[in-house]
Symmetry: C2
Subunit: 360 residues, 2 copies
Amino acid sequence: TTYKIAAIPGDGIGVDITDAASQVLNTLAQAHGGFSFDFTTFDWSSKKYLERGWYMPEDGMEQLKKHDAIYFGAVGWPDVPDHISLWSLILPIRTSMNQYVNVRPTRILKSVTAPLAQLQKNRKDLDWVIIRENSEGEYAGQGGTTHGHGPNAIATELAIFTRVGIERIMRFAFETAKLRPRKKLTMVTKSNAQRHGMVLWDKVFYEVAKEYEGVVEWDKMLVDAMTVRMVNKPESMDTIVATNLHADILSDLAAALAGSIGIAPSSNLDPTRSCPSMFEPIHGSAPDIAGKGIANPVGAFWSAAEMVRWLGKGDLDKTADQLMEAIENVSENGIRTRDMGGESSTKEVTDAVCKEIEAI
Amino acid sequence: TTYKIAAIPGDGIGVDITDAASQVLNTLAQAHGGFSFDFTTFDWSSKKYLERGWYMPEDGMEQLKKHDAIYFGAVGWPDVPDHISLWSLILPIRTSMNQYVNVRPTRILKSVTAPLAQLQKNRKDLDWVIIRENSEGEYAGQGGTTHGHGPNAIATELAIFTRVGIERIMRFAFETAKLRPRKKLTMVTKSNAQRHGMVLWDKVFYEVAKEYEGVVEWDKMLVDAMTVRMVNKPESMDTIVATNLHADILSDLAAALAGSIGIAPSSNLDPTRSCPSMFEPIHGSAPDIAGKGIANPVGAFWSAAEMVRWLGKGDLDKTADQLMEAIENVSENGIRTRDMGGESSTKEVTDAVCKEIEAI
Ligand SMILES: CC(C)[C@H](C(=O)O)[C@@H](O)C(=O)O
Ligand SMILES: CC(C)[C@H](C(=O)O)[C@@H](O)C(=O)O
C-alpha cells in the first residue's frame, strides 16, 4: 500500500518538524516493508500569503481530499494577524474535512522530567486522552461587531452547540474510554455559568452515558475545577471529553504537566473516514526559534505515529508502537532538544530516531 | 467607624467559613480599636430556595446597597441545578452591584507545600494578581435554545464584549501593575480562534497600553499557552488580565499551583464605589465536607483581609497585613486543615488566628 499524504508545513518551526517527520515516516515504512508514503507538499504559509494574498487556492479542499491523510506543521507568523492565518487554513480544514474529533493523548515519556513533584516520583499517574470537540462550540466562528471599533463598539462571539455535534463527540469519548484499561471518562463543562449551550452539552452527555452504564465509569467536572484536579490528582483521571475551547486550554496544560509542549501530538479525525484526517503537533510555529534547527521534533513524531495507527486501521499498531519506542529510546540516550533539558539539534534527534527504527 | 457588612453564607461550607470570617473580623476590629463591624446575615441559600422557590427577595439588591460591603461564602448544592443557583445569586450580584473587576491575588503562603518542584525551592517565583473582567464576556448570560432539547436542538452562548467594558478593566489592570514592584502586565486573549469579540479586546488593550508606555511593561499570551507559562515560568509574570471565563479558569489553576484552592481569595470590586463590593473565597460549597467542621477557612480569612483593605481606602492596610501575618503564623505553627496537610478543624484554625491577632 502507498499512502498519499498531503504535507502542509506552514510557518516557522512547522517547516523543520514536517521535514523531520517525513524522514522518520519514510524510514519507518522502509523498515516495515509493507507500505510506503507518497508525500505532496503544499506551501500554504504566511510567507506566501504576504506575497500573494491567500493561503489556500480556491480548490484547496478538493486537492486535500485526494489524499489519505494530512500532515500539518504549524501556522502563525508575527506579520499576519493570527485570526487571519488560522481562519484561512487550519480551522477551515478541520471543519471542511469533517474532522469533528481532536484526540490528544498525554503521558510522560521516558526520561522526560515532569514539573510536578508528585509526577517525578509516580510518572504513570499521568496517563490521559483528551477528546476535544473539533467542529463547533466556541470555534463556530460566528459573532460580529457593532459600532465598528469606536467608542460604542460591541463585539460578540457566538458559541454554537448542536445535539448532533454533542452526541457524536460523546459517543466517540465513551468508545475511547471503553477501550482503555481504566474505562473511565471525565466530562468537562461550565454549565453553572453558561446556562444555554452548556446545559444542552450536559444533557446529551447524560443520555449517551446511559448506553454505557456498567461499561464505562464517568464523572463530571467544571472546567475551572478541572485544572485543580489535573494538578492535584492526575491519577484520578483517564479519558477526558471537553468543548473546543475548554479542551484547547486543558490539553496545553496537560502537555505542560507531562513535561513539554514540544512533545504533545494531536489527531484531527473524521471518524466516518469520508475525508482525510489531519495530524499535527499541538505546539505552535515558535517564531523565536524558527530556522535555528533546534525545534523539538518529538511532538511531530508522536503525531506521525498516530497517523500511522489511523491509516493502518488496526494493522499498523505495532509499527506505530515501534516508532514510539524509538522516540523514547533516543530521548533516554540523552539525545534531546533544549526544551527537554538536552543539547541536540532537530537533525540529531531525527537521525537518531531513524537509526533506532532501523535497529528495532 | 462602623462598617455595615451584608453576610451571605450561602451553601455547604460557605456557612462554616462565613462564621469563621466574622469571628476573625470582629477580633481584628477589637484589637485595632478604631473601627467595628455590624454584620447582617442573609440566608439566601439553596436550602431556602428548595423550601420557598427563591433565593433573593425582590428588593434583595436594594437591601445589599445599604451596606458598605458584602461578604459571600459559597453557592451551589446538588439538589439545585448549578445554573439556577448561580444565576439567582452570585452572578446577578456581580453585575447589579457594578462589580466589574474581580481581583485574585495568588502567592504561596508560608508553610504551604506547592505541587510544582520548582516552586518548592523558589516559593517567591509565584506572585501574581489576576484581574478578571467580571461583568460581561462569556458570562453575559445571553444565548438560547432552538428546537428544544430534541433531535435538532441547537443551543448557543453569546459572549459580549464592549469597548466600555474592556477599557475599564484594562485601565484597572494597568493601574494595578503600576503599583506592584515589578510593574509588569500580561494580557491574555484567544483572538487567534475568536475573531470578533477577542479582536476588539486586543485592540482596546493596545490603545490603553499606549498611555502606560515606559511605566508598565506588558506582554500578550494566548490562553492555552498561558497555562504552559504558568507551569514552566511562574517567575516571568506579575499582574495578569483576562476575560471572565479565561480568568475563571486561570485563577483556579493559579490557586492549585500555589498549594490549595482553599486558600485563594477574591474581591469583586466596584472601583467607582457607588455600590458595595463583594469578597468571597474562590473555592466552592464543597458538599462532600459540608457541616463536618473541617473546611479550610484560610481563603475566607484572606478575602476578609482584602475587604478590610478596601473598606479602609489605604488607612487599614497595616491592619489587613496583620491579619495575613496571623494566618501565616498559625499555618507555620502546624495548625492547618487537611487540604493543607494538617489535621486541625475549622474552629481550631479560627481560634488560633484570633489568638494570634490579639498577640501581634
Ligand atoms: C492554532 C490554534 C487555532 C489552535 C487552536 O486553538 O485550536 C491550537 O491552539 C491548537 O490547540 O490546535
Ligand atoms: C460559582 C461560579 C459562578 C464562579 C464563576 O465561575 O465565576 C466561581 O467559579 C468563581 O470563580 O467565582
